[in-house]
């Protein structure tokens, strides 16, 4: 096989292998035959093994061939008049490390989960969603246009929400899954709108070759560039749980621990920074958008580290730690330090996956360490608290425990009035139709959830 052929095959394999595994599991579930645990785990391991090897092979081939960027054109997905949706994948210095890391970490998480979810009734469902997530992530990372990125982006969001609600016999996971989906969906408006506006203002939403790595096409007008930059930032806010859309992340920990690790420690949460790194040429052209990226990242880092310090369960503490680090990565991107951001992402993803996967065993690990040391472990992480005056400490503790009133503000001051107003409008509609029907036109207002009726 020639270098060119292997380079064409690698990204296709990285996407197709998990997609095929998804299709096979779905097919068996669809015909009412739940696949066995061993078969499922082996299939998924094989799929992500193939994906990892394909990307590793592509990386080696690029190194040997001295290539930094390869565009793999696989024909047109659709052509209508002057609008074409090309199916193009990109291998470059940004996508290759991310895609390799993602395939490897999802594969490892899959292997870990075989024991973690042993005899769980949702075993096959978990792997089904993990494969769809893997295919979606690879599409985001290797997609050569914002439309392809959007396809993967949506699949990642959907699988994330479905896995948060994995334990579907309890009400809380379902509520939290819905919350995550709502935020994803709202923020996805930014990505689709950016793609559409790029078609309008720059003639296409493909990734253009550049010195560093392939980047989103830059519109000629500064205003257009700022708008696209802001839209892409908006898309990244949801996926990466940045302020003001970060409330879903600690709640997302309701899902199985392996999925928390792979989504919110390793991959999904870093897709925001990935998108912004792809949009680096636009951020360079639009300083206002870059400034927004810095501001959002800094605010999130401050908020999350403040709130994370008082969390009493390990997964929530890790969730806020992830938010903090991703906020810092946003700042690095906004400041124009892409290589530092990449190193930060790779290091953070690896460490956080390990921490989240070990989270259920944290007490066991602690006991093991204490027995080995023959003494209680010293309390760590209290250095900042020492700087805070004692009188302020209870007040700040309460504020942090309430998450800085961030979630309450969004729910009570933004969403609740909108819902109340819309329901009033709906009652008006009902009264109008009741009048037409000749029924009593009085439509009573039903109390909102949690509202005290006097």
């Amino acid at each position: 096989m020639t270098l060119e052929q292997s380079l064409r095959l690698a990204p296709v394999l990285a996407i197709a292998a998990p997609a095929l595994a998804f299709a096979l599991i779905a097919l068996r579930l669809g015909i009412g035959h739940t696949p066995g645990e061993r078969w499922t785990a082996r299939l998924v391991a094989l799929a992500f093994g193939v994906a990892t090897l394909a990307i590793a092979g592509a990386a080696s081939a690029m190194l040997v061939g001295g290539l930094t960027e390869v565009h793999v054109a696989l024909g047109a997905w659709l052509e209508v008049a002057d609008r074409a949706l090309p199916f193009e994948l990109v291998l470059d210095r940004l996508s290759v490390p991310f895609a390799g890391l993602a395939a490897g970490l999802v594969g490892l998480t899959g292997a870990f989960s075989a024991r973690y979810l042993h005899r769980d009734r949702g075993f096959a469902r978990f792997y089904l969603l993990l494969c769809l997530f893997g295919a979606g992530v690879e599409l985001v990372l290797l997609g050569g246009s914002l439309e392809l990125v959007f396809v993967g982006w949506e699949l990642v969001g959907l699988t994330s929400a479905l896995l948060i609600a994995f334990f579907d016999e309890r009400p809380t996971p379902a509520r939290h899954g819905l919350r995550a989906f709502v935020i994803y969906r709202v923020c996805d408006v930014g990505l689709l709108s950016a793609a559409v506006w790029l078609h309008h203002s720059a003639g296409g939403a493909g990734l253009d070759a550049s010195e560093r790595w392939a980047g989103v096409r830059v519109p000629a007008g500064a205003l257009d560039a700022t708008l696209v930059g802001a839209l892409l930032l908006f898309a990244a806010l949801g996926k990466s749980a940045q302020i003001p859309f970060g409330g879903w992340l600690p709640r997302a920990m309701e899902g199985p621990t392996p999925s928390s690790a792979v989504f919110y420690g390793a991959i999904s949460i870093h897709l925001g920074p990935y998108l912004l790194l792809r949009a680096a040429p636009i951020l360079e052209r639009a300083p206002l958008a870059a400034g927004l990226v810095i501001a959002v990242g800094a605010l999130t880092a401050l908020h999350a580290t403040f709130v994370g310090r008082v969390q009493t369960d390990v997964k929530s503490a890790l969730a806020y730690a992830s938010m903090t680090q991703v906020g810092l990565i946003f700042v690095e991107i906004g400041l124009g330090l892409p290589w530092l951001a990449i190193a930060h992402v790779v290091g953070h993803a690896s460490l956080r996956t390990l921490q989240l996967l070990r989270a259920p065993s944290v007490l066991h690990d602690r006991g093991h360490l204490e027995r080995a040391m023959g003494a209680e472990l010293p309390r760590a992480g209290g250095h900042l608290e020492r700087l805070v005056p004692a009188r302020l400490q209870p007040w700040l503790y309460r504020l942090a425990l309430e998450r800085g009133y961030h979630d309450a503000l969004v729910a009570d001051r933004v969403l609740a009035p909108v819902v109340r107003w819309l329901r009033a409008l709906d009652r008006l509609e009902e009264r109008w139709i009741a009048w037409l029907e000749g029924r009593p036109a009085k439509v009573a207002r039903e109390p909102e959830r949690g509202e005290v009726v006097r």
């Binding site: 579930l29 579907d168 819905l178």
Partner: protein
């Protein structure tokens, strides 16, 4: 000629089957007759379309027959009578009859023919009789305006008056703001099969493409586009906050219907192609989506979105069909809906940049409505043992529907070529 035969098959077979279904001994027997009739109608429409090499016009009977097939096969028996199935078939037949001929008066007759059975069904039950009045309050003026428009067009008067009357009549049927009030109530009150047969084909879209596209004054086009965009967003917002699943579905229909209507009048080939694809996708996917909701309702009774439902573990296939079809109708990537949405918005952004963003927002909100329904209805508490998943009858039709949407989503060039969308649009029919 072959295309005409196919379209006639899609119209005549359901009308014939309606006569037999009406005399059936039970609702179950009527459903069997109706299913067989719709299968024949679908096969004849598909065969005719394939024989003529497809094309936008020749393919419309396929869409109508497919939706009719989903509506009757998936219709629950609870509360239904043989007459219910006969009326569903009459609605399908009346709708298909509209596409058979180019004579304006036939449009008016088909229009009335599809409205009357739906009104009769509402009238037939004591509890829904008041709703028949509200239904008539909107749909009778719609029929009158369409008839007036058709008559004016036939008499050779200046076409502007006829076109305006037609546009107003179609806007009511398409439930464009402020003439949308009848639809949520109709969805709440009528049997779901009838709702799907009446609403999902969006025959207003066909009539719009056939008689109005490219012929309205630019000012009227703009007004319609603004109203459609407003409808998309406002109905999507109202759908999100509903407490009853059926009412949420009603507003969802309003929003999706306006989304399609938005793209019909643009000069842009891409946007128009997107609108036609969205018409097909919304029609098929929302038909399946609504019928899965009806199937769940048949198992659990009236569905509330206020309180946590039950786990999907007993009904995994029903839950999967619900979420896939629901999200397919709002542009889930991997289905044809995504391609349709992308083309629709891309086309719209050149002519109406702000309104194009409204479409994206409306679609996102509709996705939230679907997800809210899914997470509320299919999760939250342990499911009772014995809740039945999709039956073989339901599974067959939903599998075919989901497979069609997925295959078309992965390979959209096929349907685009079949519908003739890659070519420039034909001129609208002369109304003289």
């Amino acid at each position: 000629m072959i295309a005409l035969a196919g379209a006639a098959g899609a119209a005549v077979v359901p009308l014939g089957a309606a006569l037999i279904a009406k005399r059936a001994a039970s609702a179950r027997a009527a459903r069997r007759v109706a299913s067989a009739g719709m299968l024949v109608a679908f096969a004849s429409a598909l065969a005719a379309s394939v024989a003529t090499g497809g094309g936008e016009r020749a393919s419309v009977p396929v869409l109508i027959a497919a939706i009719g097939l989903v509506a009757v096969v998936m219709s629950p028996l609870g509360g239904a009578t043989p007459r219910t199935f006969a009326r569903i078939l009459l609605v399908v037949g009346g709708t298909a009859a509209i596409v058979v001929t180019d004579v304006p008066v036939a449009l008016a007759l088909g229009w009335i023919g599809s409205i009357v059975p739906a009104w009769l069904e509402l009238r037939s039950r004591r509890e829904t009789r008041p709703s028949a009045r509200a239904f008539a309050a909107y749909l009778v003026p719609s029929a009158a305006l369409v008839t007036l428009g058709a008559l004016l067009a036939s008499t050779g008067l200046p076409p502007a008056y006829g076109l305006l009357a037609l546009a107003a009549g179609l806007a009511i049927r398409e439930a464009i703001l402020p003439a949308h009030g009848w639809l949520p109530r109709f969805v709440e009150q009528a049997p779901m099969g009838l709702v799907v047969a009446f609403v999902a084909p969006q025959i207003g879209v066909f009539a719009h493409l056939r008689w109005l596209a490219g012929r309205l004054a630019p000012e009227v086009d703009l007004v319609l586009a603004v109203l459609a965009a407003l409808t998309v967003v406002s109905a999507a917002l109202l759908a999100v906050v509903q407490r009853r699943a059926r009412r949420a579905l009603g507003y969802f229909f309003v929003s999706q219907s306006a989304l399609v209507a938005f793209g019909l009048d643009g000069d842009d080939v891409v946007g128009r192609s997107g609108a036609v694809l969205a018409w097909w996708t919304c029609g098929l996917a929302t038909a399946g989506f609504a019928m899965t909701l009806a199937a769940l309702e048949a198992r659990r009774g009236a569905l509330s979105l206020e309180h946590a439902g039950r786990s999907a573990r007993q009904v995994p296939l029903l839950a999967t069909a619900y979420v896939v079809l629901g999200l397919a109708s709002v542009g889930l990537p991997g289905t044809l809906g995504f391609i349709a949405e992308d083309l629709l918005v891309s086309g719209a952004v050149h002519e109406h940049p702000v309104l194009a963003f409204a479409l994206v927002v409306g679609t996102a909100l509709n996705g939230i409505t679907v997800a809210r329904g899914f997470f509320t209805l299919f999760a939250g508490a342990r499911a009772p043992v014995g809740e039945r998943d999709l039956t073989l009858r339901e599974r067959s039709v939903l599998t075919a529907l989901v497979a069609a949407l997925l295959v078309a989503g992965v390979w959209p060039s096929g349907p685009v070529r079949w519908l003739g969308l890659a070519e420039p649009p034909p001129a609208a029919a002369s109304t003289r």
